[in-house]
């Protein structure tokens, strides 16, 4: 159990092996937790909005808070034009948040601690935002790479930098979430290993640390979901409202 702090990230298949061509499409523990995440979110919202009333009960209040939180975030960062993308941002935020929080349960699996999951999310956001930008502005969307007020002789350099920073968006967006979740869970496991190896006499100090770190990780789980969603809004803002 205390052997390897990385063994918690192992992906193994549950149930029958499904192979199509050279792709292994078996149902894994990762897929199980993704399904679980979506089920938790859907069930929560179905139950919370069962009895809609003007004076909300506790469940409805939480659902309304989540709704309003994301709605405020979008209108503050991306403006009115981003209104149609509200369902997407809300589901993105809730998926990342609930996946992070489910991962905090002992013996569970953190979906977002795998770069392929976060990269898939970030890459689809990147493609989507680029498509929205080109659909709205046409070819003049490329003006995004030319900041206004830059001297002419600096432009070749600036454009290259802007293009590289634009292309690195999906990488930085996905690595941020993945690295935070993986580093946090590894750290928890390492301190858990200290508790076992120091035994009944010296194990109390790392145990205290582990408890404090769990609190910090809950905070990080929320902050990272928030940052993931708000950066999506900022990218959307770039695509919708060109600054020219």
């Amino acid at each position: 159990m205390a052997a390897n702090p990385m063994s918690q990230f192992e992906v193994y298949s549950i149930g029958p092996k499904i192979q199509i061509g050279s792709f292994d499409l078996s149902f894994t523990n990762s897929s199980l937790f993704m399904v679980l995440t979506v089920t938790v979110i859907s069930l929560f919202f179905i139950v919370a909005t069962q009895k809609k009333s003007l004076v909300p009960n506790k469940m409805q209040l939480i659902a309304e808070m989540a709704f309003e939180f994301v709605s405020k975030m979008i209108s503050e960062t991306a403006g009115k034009d981003a209104r149609p993308y509200f369902p997407f941002i809300l589901s993105l935020f809730l998926f990342v948040l609930v996946a992070n929080l489910l991962g905090m349960l002992p013996y569970s699996f953190t979906v977002t601690s795998h770069i392929i999951v976060t990269f898939a999310l970030a890459f689809f956001i990147f493609i989507g935002v680029t498509a929205v930008g080109f659909a709205k502005h046409g070819i003049s969307y490329l003006k995004l790479f030319v900041p206004s007020g830059v001297p002419i002789f600096l432009l070749p350099l600036i454009i290259v930098i802007e293009v590289i920073s634009y292309l690195s968006r999906p990488v930085s967006l996905s690595v941020r979430l993945f690295a935070n979740m993986m580093a946090g869970h590894t750290m928890l496991k390492v301190f858990g290993g200290f508790v076992v190896s120091l035994g009944i006499l010296g194990g109390w100090l790392p145990l205290g640390f582990a408890v404090a770190l769990t609190g910090l990780e809950l905070l990080v789980a929320f902050i990272q979901a928030y940052v993931f969603a708000i950066l999506t809004c900022i990218y959307l803002n770039d695509a919708l409202n060109l600054h020219h």
Partner: protein
């Protein structure tokens, strides 16, 4: 030098990136606190920006950690 030893040293050096993250996070929270003490009524409004800055600064350090892990486990 043996490859295994060089890997360990490289991973250790890559973790120096965490020093920068520490500086950044300390700077962000320090500036937020001093600004909030001067004008407490405006503090609540800047709290989302605080979280955003914290996450952005923390991520840069974690990039270094990812490099260390790649050196240790992927090569």
């Amino acid at each position: 030098m043996e490859v295994e030893a060089a890997k360990m040293i490289g991973a250790g050096i890559a973790c120096i990136a965490l020093a920068g993250a520490g500086l950044g996070i300390g700077n962000i929270f320090g500036s937020y606190l001093s600004a909030a003490m001067r004008n407490p009524s405006a503090a609540q409004k800047q709290f989302p920006n605080l979280l955003l800055g914290f996450a952005l600064a923390e991520a840069t350090g974690l990039f270094g950690l990812v490099v260390a892990l790649i050196i240790l486990f992927a090569f």
